[in-house]
């Protein structure tokens, strides 16, 4: 699957203080929902990803419950985070 530009930009460098909307697969609507729940920065979502022990199914389920992503979006999101972890963690 070809990765989008958003994905490539995110994975290219440490995420620092990037907001949640920078993650591939998260559009405006979803990003707002995450911020409402307290996940305002990408690293907080990364924290949740790590707390779920990087489990794909659990993370995607959590995403769906939290901000209503569909299959493709959550797949992209997960892929993005996983690649970032592989590179920097």
């Amino acid at each position: 699957m070809t990765t989008s530009q958003k994905h490539r930009d995110f994975v290219a460098e440490p995420m620092g203080e990037k907001p949640v909307g920078n993650l591939a697969g998260i559009d405006e609507v979803r990003g707002k929902k995450l911020e409402e729940r307290g996940f305002d920065k990408a690293y907080v979502v990364l924290g949740q990803f790590l707390v779920l022990k990087k489990d794909k199914d659990l993370f995607r389920e959590w995403l769906k419950d939290t901000c209503g992503t569909n299959a493709k979006q959550s797949r992209d999101y997960f892929g993005c985070l996983q690649e970032w972890c592989d590179t920097f963690l």
């Binding site: 707390v51 779920l52 659990l58 389920e61």
Partner: protein, 493 residues
């Protein structure tokens, strides 16, 4: 589920073989759902495994043990568990002597009513089975008492044990070797009968019917074998000519007595000759039928009676309509003889054979007759195994097809969503494109059948995907279009 604390939730998940991460405010719901799903899966797996009959015992045992380990902490142990186990224990002892098929049948429904306390009853199972096996052993001993000749029962019993083992598919005798989980599986299967079935109803009923038929056929075969053995052993029977009531005239009585004595000698001679002929033929006789002259000669030697008396005896035999035990045969072996002149040879109807000879003949006849049934049974068993194999293959194929359908639905829906977000040009996606996305090139030929079935299924059973024909890039091709709004969630997730 809501009442579980974090620690309990973690323990439950670990019991089901899953290692959860930290349970925090944000992860608690996720893990609760996961526990729910794992429990549902475990339950489904139980039922599927129970429904597989005649599976190899070896792999059922560790699986069943793993299952018991999993389900042990989850299932509540009803207080009546010990009570329920006891009636089951007492059942085998109440079984009657040779009601072994009956006893087996009784145990099965009573075991079927025993539900839930698997964790408790599992160690009790070996004891119950051993008791059942001993009931069977005692019933066999009762059977022995009924037959007259113990010597027969020696090889017969050995043969019967072997027969009981093979037709009954080593169900009961194997209990002697180790705990047999099958009765327990049957019990839990009956207990969980309400859940959805994986196999087609008809197939399973046919399978059950076939197995039951085979069981009864084997048991009937056993009975037939014993019956034949018993009959063929026979009893040494005396000549059945009825002694006439002694008449008032002394002379007639004397004559009659002489005649009968002659007949008796003749009968014995013929019987012995026939017996010798049947059992190895040491005198190299040509047939059981002794020529008249020879018989006459022998009788003359033994009883010193004249040929007239001999002929009178023959006439008496001919005229009497009782079964004397001597057959008079003429030239033409099949025709009935009416006059003494036509009689060419005599044959005994009841050859007298030694015990050993009789025993071996009886055994041989019984075995030969039974072997025919055995081959029929073996053929049917082979058929059953083949059918089960075929059904399992069909099921696997169906599962593969459903997996494929799920993946296709995902892809088509994602494509539509992308189109909504202006990432794609058309709202539909070519069928072949989807196939090439999902199946790598090396598997395309192998998965062709699964793919075709999935396409068929989608065309007929999926309302959210529409199969259409469009002209894409100048070429007509079949496409799939997602017809439902994307904000609805999927049934799967």
């Amino acid at each position: 589920m809501a009442g579980l604390s974090d620690l309990e939730l973690r323990r439950e998940l670990q019991a089901l073989g899953f290692q959860p991460g930290p349970i925090t405010d944000t992860t608690r719901d996720v893990y609760r759902n996961k526990l729910r799903r794992l429990r549902g899966e475990a339950r489904l797996r139980d039922e599927e495994r129970l429904r597989e009959e005649a599976g190899p015992r070896g792999e059922e045992r560790p699986r069943e043990e793993a299952r018991l380990r999993e389900d042990g902490p989850l299932r509540a142990r009803p207080a009546a568990a010990s009570l329920r186990a006891e009636p089951w224990l007492s059942q085998p002892t109440s079984g009657s002597a040779y009601a072994t098929p009956g006893a087996y049948g009784d145990i099965r429904p009573s075991a079927a009513s025993w539900v839930g306390s698997r964790g408790l009853a599992y160690p009790a199972r070996p004891a119950q089975l051993r008791r059942r096996a001993s009931v069977r052993g005692s019933s066999e001993e009762d059977e022995d008492a009924r037959t007259p000749d113990r010597a027969v029962q020696g090889p017969g019993l050995v043969a019967r044990r072997w027969w009981a083992a093979s037709p009954a598919s080593a169900r009961l005798p194997s209990a002697l070797l180790g705990p047999d989980p099958r009765p327990g599986l049957r019990a839990t299967r009956a207990g969980l009968a309400g859940a959805a079935r994986a196999r087609p109803e008809v197939g399973r009923r046919l399978e059950r019917w076939l197995s039951r038929l085979l069981l009864w056929a084997s048991l009937g075969l056993l009975l037939v074998f014993l019956g034949i053995l018993w009959v063929k052993m026979g009893k040494p029977s005396a000549p059945q000519e009825a002694e006439d009531n002694s008449t008032s005239r002394f002379c007639q009585a004397k004559q009659k007595a002489a005649l009968l004595e002659l007949l008796h000698e003749l009968y014995n001679f013929l019987a012995i000759q026939a017996g010798n002929f049947e059992c190895g033929n040491p005198e190299k006789l040509k047939s059981k039928c002794i020529p008249v002259t020879e018989a006459q000669e022998y009788i003359a030697n033994v009883t010193s009676s004249s040929s007239a008396k001999f002929e009178a005896a023959l006439t008496w035999i001919l005229s009497s309509n009782k079964d004397v035990g001597i057959w008079l045969k003429g030239e033409d072996q099949s025709e009935l003889v009416t006059t003494v002149d036509k009689v060419v040879c005599l044959e005994s109807a009841r050859p007298r054979m030694g015990v050993g000879c009789r025993l071996s003949r009886a055994l041989l006849t019984a075995l030969t007759n039974v072997l025919i049934f055995f081959w029929c049974l073996a053929f049917l068993w082979g058929l059953l195994i083949l059918l089960k194999y075929r059904w399992r293959k069909l099921e696997e194929e169906e599962q593969a097809m459903y997996e494929m359908v799920k993946k296709i639905i995902d892809v088509v829906q994602d494509h539509y969503v992308d189109w909504e977000q202006d990432m794609e040009r058309y709202p539909y996606v070519g069928i072949l494109h989807v196939r090439d996305t999902l199946i790598p090139p090396q598997s395309r030929r192998r998965m062709k059948r699964v793919w075709d079935r999935a396409v068929e299924f989608l065309a007929s059973n999926e309302s959210r995907i529409q199969t259409e024909s469009h002209r894409v890039a100048g070429e007509d091709m079949l496409v799939w279009r997602w017809t439902k709004p994307s904000s609805f969630s999927d049934s799967e997730r």
